[in-house]
């Protein structure tokens, strides 16, 4: 029950007052290789912070960086806000779909990648940009997308 212990540990470290909910959720999500918060974790958080389960779930589903469904080990987020759009982000999204063989909103069968659109994360200077977990990659071309996916695949092995 590593996940349970780690979740309890995270709550203890961050604090068990209701205002720490978001910080706790962010931390708990990072404990999980598939980058999401499990139902079991939500239950633990609700007890630990003494808040209703519906509240924990409500907040977890409100914020777009938090997820209650399985994602990839690498969460690929393609910016689709104005500045990246005028720098051809749609082509980049298409290239990722081709390179990964999945559509936006899906996870690859091996659980390695998930692909989605995201709102602006401030990478406009190097648009079109994508965010993969905590890393930002910019000035992308279709060719670079394929290279990037390739190098991440190798990194994972």
């Amino acid at each position: 029950m590593d996940l349970e212990n780690n979740t309890m540990e995270a709550i203890e470290k961050i604090g068990n007052t209701p205002d720490k909910l978001i910080e706790v959720l962010i931390q708990c999500q990072s404990l999980n290789q598939q980058n999401y918060i499990t139902e079991e974790q939500l239950n633990l958080i609700s007890k630990g912070l003494n808040i209703p389960l519906s509240k924990a779930y409500g907040v977890a589903s409100f914020y777009s960086m938090l997820s209650t469904s399985k994602k990839g080990k690498y969460v690929i987020q393609v910016c689709n806000s104005g500045p990246c759009y005028v720098n051809n982000s749609k082509t980049i999204a298409k290239a990722f779909q081709d390179a990964l063989g999945i559509s936006l909103g899906e996870v690859t069968a091996d659980g390695l990648f998930s692909l989605e659109y995201t709102s602006c994360f401030g990478g406009c200077q190097i648009a079109p940009a994508v965010k993969i977990n905590d890393m930002v990659y910019g000035n992308l071309t279709e060719e670079k997308v394929w290279q990037l996916v390739d190098s991440l695949r190798k990194e994972a092995v």
Partner: protein
């Protein structure tokens, strides 16, 4: 270009307190604590005529006075570092270039309004900034700049860093407060405004990163120095972030009074591939889209107001003539649809219905009535939405309708001159 508020960015190591002090760091705080009463600090800021740099451009000194006037023992100051406006990345330059300057500004604001606790709410998309601030705060605690009786004076103050988790609406101050409290980021009904009733129902001062970064400089150099910069109605400098189809994208500090044309063609080197400019969007996705004929407009709050537009966060998106107005409007509205918190009906439903009307036009079943529908919905949203998100979402829509009416007409007639849209059936392409 000017170098004032951002002058230490890139020049010093962000986490070197020694270097920050060598370049005049904490002189503002020392001056405030040793020689000025809280009211004198507020008066100095009022005299500088500094206006908020987050987007609403509210006079900073007036806001401080409102919080200071509250009798409550418990007050809070909050630094709004939830820079979510698309095309805006200027706060990041300050957050990662000189965190101590932002913290010093927050400390001075706390001293002025009588707060003992501060929060820095940084968007979750900036993990580096969050990390830097946590480290910076630890350094300051060790060095006696944070904690009890700071610098031996009767002033105690502590700061906590809070992370956002991906919600544009949390840049709105009441939604931000909800988020710090651990809730979903839905805007509150106003009034009461945060200066009366904010975080945990207590008087709360919320200021943008760039606003706070100006404070130490104004206090240490005096309001008079600050007043020398800028125009009659807009004092100081502004950080702008330029993106889109332009040669040099990036964050630049400019003095108020510079024209948009100078920014785009002199500072940013014009458009990529010497293409023709179609429009620029000023202030992020919630800003107005201006055609070329308005490029000689000077960066000035009052000048902008004459045209009924705002400077907003200082983002400038440059768009060339390969862009389809309707497709761009769809992308922008899709963003607001996704980011709407869903609390008020006009914002939640309005964006969806604008997209439906755009889609009818893009896919070939649009009529003149759709233009009117978009205009009506946008106007209702602007006038009746609960917070800035819903009120500002229709601004780009209305400005595009005003300046690019022909292109809407073109789509109703079944073709798209930029060749971006796909029409059902036979599309007459005039590409």
């Amino acid at each position: 270009m000017k170098s004032f508020v951002s002058k230490l960015c890139g020049k010093i190591m962000p986490l070197s307190l020694k270097e920050y002090r060598e370049h005049g760091g904490f002189l503002g705080l020392e001056k405030a604590l040793f020689y000025m009463s809280p009211q004198e600090v507020i008066d100095e800021i009022k005299e500088s005529r500094l206006r908020g740099r987050g987007g609403a451009s509210f006079p900073t000194g007036v806001k401080w006075q409102l919080v200071a006037a509250e009798g409550d023992e418990e007050k809070y100051v909050v630094c709004n570092a939830d820079e979510g406006e698309p095309g805006t990345f200027k706060d990041k330059a300050l957050l990662e270039g000189c965190p101590f300057q932002v913290i010093e500004g927050l400390m001075i604001s706390a001293y002025a309004v009588g707060a003992y606790k501060g929060y820095i709410y940084i968007r979750g998309e900036y993990p580096n900034s969050i990390d830097l601030f946590k480290k910076a705060i630890n350094i300051l605690k060790k060095e006696g700049y944070l904690g009890e009786n700071i610098l031996g004076q009767n002033f105690s103050f502590d700061i906590e860093v809070r992370s956002g988790a991906g919600a544009y609406v949390c840049g709105e101050e009441t939604a931000l407060i909800e988020s710090i409290e651990g809730n979903s980021g839905s805007s509150r009904f106003k009034p009461p405004y945060p200066p009366n009733c904010g975080l945990w129902g207590k008087p709360t001062l919320v200021n943008n990163v760039e606003t706070l970064a100006n404070i130490p400089l104004i206090i240490s150099q005096g309001a008079e120095e600050f007043l020398k910069l800028g125009t009659k109605g807009s004092k100081g400098t502004k950080l702008i972030s330029v993106s889109g189809n332009v040669v040099n994208k990036g964050v630049f500090e400019v003095e108020f009074g510079i024209s948009l044309r100078e920014i785009i063609y002199d500072i940013c080197g014009g458009l990529e591939g010497n293409k023709k400019l179609k429009f620029i969007q000023v202030g992020g996705s919630s800003g107005a889209c201006l055609p070329e004929l308005l490029l000689d407009l000077e960066l000035d709050f009052d000048e902008f107001k004459k045209h009924n537009i705002g400077i907003g966060s200082g983002a400038i998106l440059v768009v060339d003539d390969s862009c389809c107005i309707l497709d761009f409007m769809r992308v922008t509205t899709e963003f607001f649809k996704h980011e709407s918190c869903g609390k008020c009906t006009t914002c939640r439903e309005g964006n969806r219905h604008i997209i439906k009307a755009i889609d009818r036009m893009i896919y070939g079943s649009g009529t003149e009535r759709d233009m009117q529908i978009i205009k009506d919905i946008a106007t209702i949203m602007r006038d009746s939405s609960l917070c800035g998100l819903g009120q500002a979402a229709p601004i780009p829509v209305l400005s595009l309708l005003k300046h690019f009416k022909d292109e809407f007409q073109e789509h109703i007639n079944g073709y798209c001159s930029t060749g971006v849209c796909n029409f059902k059936g036979e599309g007459k392409s005039h590409g």
